[in-house]
Subunit: 336 residues, 2 copies
Amino acid sequence: MAIRVLHVGLGPIGVGVVRQCASRKGFKIVGAVDLDADKIGKDLGEVAGLGRTLDVKVESKLAAAIKAGRPDVVVLCTSSSLSKVADQVADVLKHKLPIVSTTEELAYPWFSNKRLAKKIDVLARKAKVAVLGTGVNPGFTMDALPITLTGVCERVDSIRVERIQDASIRRLPFQQKIGAGLTPEEFAEKVQGGAVRHVGLTESVAMIADAMGWKLESITDVIGPRIAAQATKSEFLAVQKGQVAGITQTGTGYDKNGQALITLHMEAYLGAPESYDAVIVKGLPDLHMKIAGGVHGDIATASITVNSIPKVLTAPAGLQTMRSMVIPSWFGGKTR
Amino acid sequence: MAIRVLHVGLGPIGVGVVRQCASRKGFKIVGAVDLDADKIGKDLGEVAGLGRTLDVKVESKLAAAIKAGRPDVVVLCTSSSLSKVADQVADVLKHKLPIVSTTEELAYPWFSNKRLAKKIDVLARKAKVAVLGTGVNPGFTMDALPITLTGVCERVDSIRVERIQDASIRRLPFQQKIGAGLTPEEFAEKVQGGAVRHVGLTESVAMIADAMGWKLESITDVIGPRIAAQATKSEFLAVQKGQVAGITQTGTGYDKNGQALITLHMEAYLGAPESYDAVIVKGLPDLHMKIAGGVHGDIATASITVNSIPKVLTAPAGLQTMRSMVIPSWFGGKTR
């Protein structure tokens, strides 16, 4: 029996999830909801750029879509901000449906958004379903994966994660999100306004800290420009020498002595010579893990969202995180 | 409140677990059982080579040790063979105690030992506790870790894992177990007799296959000698050119077309130029992960066993595997 999925939010990430659910075994898309007037009423296949129709019309109202589609699960890809999606989560839970969401701040809201986390947890338990925030980062490369690696350690002293990405192979909105092509002044302004930043480092630091049982004194999240030392370009953008090629961002968790226990360092810029994800655990033993080429952000976020759908159906009721879930795995359409 | 642990089986792996439980926060050792007359009646600290007493006398009888120690959990490190430990597992379950075991064949018994797996599952559910087989391999590097990595994949076509170890830094029993110093003829004889082999490749292949939802036609487990191209030695052994420096062993899972979907390749020999663990996932996207230096087998097996103790206390009742458990993590003595 295919899992009946309702998609809420049809931005770039949302349609990435739609494309996988439409083409992978084990899923039946039974509805889609978005607020964009350009999408409402159109066939979901067209909106998702599938090149074929899916016989699913994009709706504007959640309740009507649930009533018509009778989904088993809702995939929520509307915003990075938990305060923006909290009401949407509550609405879905009124219908007693489990949720998988790509909302970055939902990946581990127990530090920055404790009150909302508690509220969602209570509603989900009452509805007897699980709610999970996931994605490649936060959700995997900078939290669940390093936590998993510490499972073979006798002692853990500190954890450092590096995620270095050559942004030139990513989509245009991503290149814009990291500030490629801006002057340093424009970059600083955009950072100030919150338009240029990766959301989730604080969430990942907090998830790791709680998994290790570490009490942190503070978490910092520092953004800076990566200035082009020479001219570089992508399919979409040209960057002059001295302009911004992309972003560096570091989330750090400090103990009460000012020691950095957790360091999550990202760089995403045009022309990075090597993309990779690395985890360095200092302890007994030390561990040095590297994924050559890195984990492709767009594919991976949609993939882990889709792969989490069958797991969230059997997870205990309440607000779950990748830390409290059964180990991730690819879902090939049937469970054995 | 410290977790009260009873240790059953005090061989090299068992005492490795004892040493960690004795020195790490969050545990209180309340008993130890072994059949070896040389150990019975002695203080566990002495038997484990701790250089201090633990005020725990090694017992010969499980029931008496449970009655005296009132453990929360039993750690079982008596044998690689499930048929040899099945009665011990059943005995512990009579006392309604959860079990973490390093028995390799218990890591994923649903292929080779289905009848015993079913029996243990039923007994554990009846006792309302969880039973888990774990270790570095099987249990982590060649199954749980590659499965975890596929969580970010849209499609998985095949999985290859390599575990290459320079055995010269390992303990003498390990070097003997891999046949170092034997002639090729002696090696072949020992393989024939079952004395030289790594136990667990079939279990890891089966765990991965079930996680991927793949139906395998067959699983093979092939052992060969690694012949020394030049003289080499360890602290304990000298190997002449032409003698056996160690073992190569490959577990392979084939589909009905004879295609190798899962390949788990191990080499452990004196003088390996580089130790590492690698996972290569072919699919969308491809993933190339490498742990430089590898995961040290002795420390890691004891560590993941100890780290699994708090998790098994809250796991659902029944026979669990690393595939059905919450993601692994280091346990620092308290849960947050």
